[in-house]
Symmetry: C2
Subunit: 360 residues, 2 copies
DNA sequence: CTCCAAATTGTTAACGTTCACGCATTCAGA
DNA sequence: TCTGAATGCGTGAACGTTAACAATTTGGAG
């Protein structure tokens, strides 16, 4: 077969024709009419070939393709967008995209979108204040995106999506819980927390402490619940879980407190960065990992396997998350999906930071 | 003053007018003509107001703005792009954007672009093969971007940019060395390496070992040269520098070799992740940091201050890099810049992983 | 008051596609 | 052989904006 996509990429954006008559200041691009003239057909037929319309004789189709190739024709997407109202562009609302998780989702979405024939435009938000999100959606709609994926860890975002024009399909990814405003794709945080906690209990620990993420982040909350639920089910004591931020500094601060308590033998951290801080606190307090205390993280960020010691953690497949989000968005755009919620299962990556509790 | 930007954001993408006459299947958006009619002027005047054309009487300007507001008018950018050939969109060619550095640059570029009134579209490349880069530029030009910033650590990319249509301005960021294909923005790697090496020499180390990045990455090469030059200048012995990849695994592998050599007292690592691997290797070999061996990294990635021990490193200001790239691109687009190369100075962040050599 | 230049506004024609038609031509079935 | 549908292609007319130019109004100097 002989399609558009294997045209040679010798020059970009179409070549220029020798300006036929009235010399304009800006050079004229090759357009459908030029192709049509060369192929001896009407511009409409060229359009049909471009859009794979069935009712074109094979012979003329080839003639048109040949003409396109020799003129290095590129279709003008702005003109197409003007009339069809679709831009082959998707919008992404990004938050904290410098961090590994969001950055991975962004990348995964973009890759998948490209394979589906879309370009992605990005509108980052500094914080999750509603008006910033609204403004981001606005910028994207102004640029006529065909759909939006929000990397949205908090519900403020999903609810802001509800204000988008009804024709604009939106999906939220990296989100905990459901929302009636938009379909969501997220990881099963409770299951992940359960995995981590159960792993530690199975090793023989009496109970498991938890260094939580921010209290107002649903994902952090779900992890707390998964941890707590597992302890309940096992009949173990449930220690208090002090919330904090997602970084090592916060883990370090709370790690120092935990390190001072000799009864603590197992700690589940809400993410790997927190775990890094806890590791340092334990080290400074002279408590060995995993001989004295076992640690489990969450995320499996790059190089978590090179912490001291290599970190046992719950792996989030961010790339899968991104892919699923795109698939869901496309399904909703084509109207043949009513899925509201996609959950991706995390899994445990056992490494050297966990072991049986010290024998008393 | 009373501008477009403080229109209320109650609805997106313009409201719909009650379909005046012939009922079409798709709802009609508010367009300039509607605004014009309401304000009692011609559509061209509306256009002038929108583009801040000077020759509009203040009174009519206000009337038009009011009409726009009450109709919640949004201009159709596709139509605008069709005629002006500019899209208010910039393209970014991304590589390895899941990593902290590139992700930060991406974010910084996007933020700065937004402030300048641009939306950014992103085209990622899986690897730096020339045809992939060419294809990425092609996708962006097809979507009529006004300029391109490539996050381009290797020269294959900058040279591929040379194939872009001449009217399309391109800038490369995160690049070592100069290129005649496009202006480049980069960090002063040699200076950074010098900072690190000199810091160790100043502490009293006889020489400094280096765990390098990939041999075919110019940035890694510049760091090697900065390190080597500093040693030369100080009259110190220059040990061989084994290259590797940018990650902890690679650092660990080469760290094991270095750890086995008792004469090694100072190691400069090409980045923080490598340093993490080296730290683990030293730890496993029973060599203490910084008492026995001092370590310096490069990047200052998040949480480098929570390694064991907290890592002394050379900080790259990725956000500054991104901002400078955008500024440079805009200057080149407006034609009033001939700057070819922007260098950003890194600086040393001393932490706990460096100290004087052990006294024999 | 008159007249010319500047300031302000309107008219018409692009920009490059797709859509809604309409006109030939082909082909199957009676 | 004729009919009617299906196939293949062409002809305007949108889509919503800006550019170019023409027309009108304004303001000040003579």
């Amino acid at each position: 077969m002989f399609t558009l996509t294997n045209l040679p990429l010798l020059a970009f954006g179409g070549s220029f024709l020798p300006s036929s008559d009235g010399d304009r200041s800006r050079p004229r691009l090759t357009v459908m009419r030029d192709v049509a003239k060369l192929a001896g057909v009407s511009h409409q037929t060229v359009s049909r070939v471009l859009n794979n319309h069935p009712n074109v004789r094979q012979e003329t189709r080839l003639r048109v393709l040949e003409a396109m190739q020799s003129l290095n024709y590129r279709r003008n997407l702005a003109a197409r967008t003007l009339v069809t109202r679709q831009s082959d562009t998707l919008g992404i609302i990004g938050f904290e995209t410098t961090l590994f998780g969001p950055a991975s989702m962004l990348y995964a979405i973009e890759s998948a979108a490209r394979d589906a024939g879309y370009l992605v435009s990005i509108a980052s938000v500094r914080d999750l204040e509603r008006r910033h999100v609204v403004e981001a959606v606005d910028r994207l709609t102004q640029h006529a995106v065909d759909g939006v994926i929000a990397i949205a860890p908090k519900l403020t975002v999903t609810s802001a999506l509800a204000q988008a024009p009804p024709s604009l399909r939106c999906v939220a990814v990296g989100t905990a819980g459901q929302s009636d405003a938009a379909p969501t794709v997220g990881i099963d945080n409770a299951a992940g927390a359960c995995l981590a906690t159960q792993h530690l209990l199975d090793l023989g620990h009496r109970t498991v402490h938890h260094v939580a993420g921010p209290a107002d982040w649903p994902e952090a909350q779900e992890r707390v619940e998964g941890w707590r639920g597992t302890l309940y089910a096992a009949g173990a004591v449930v220690p208090p879980a002090a919330p904090g931020w997602w970084d090592a500094e916060s883990g370090y601060a709370r790690g120092r407190t935990l390190a001072a308590d000799p009864t603590v033998t197992a700690i589940f951290c809400a993410n790997d960065r927190i775990a890094l801080g806890v590791l340092r606190a334990l080290h400074e307090a002279g408590r060995r990992v995993p001989e004295d205390v076992s640690i489990v993280g969450f995320d499996d960020m790059p190089d978590a396997g090179y912490f001291l010691p290599p970190l046992t953690t719950v792996r989030q497949d961010f790339r899968e998350l991104g892919r699923r989000a795109l698939t869901l968005l496309l399904e909703h755009m084509s109207g043949d999906s009513t899925t509201d919620r996609v959950l991706v299962a995390p899994h445990l990556v056992p490494r050297a930071s966990t072991g049986p509790p010290p024998s008393r």
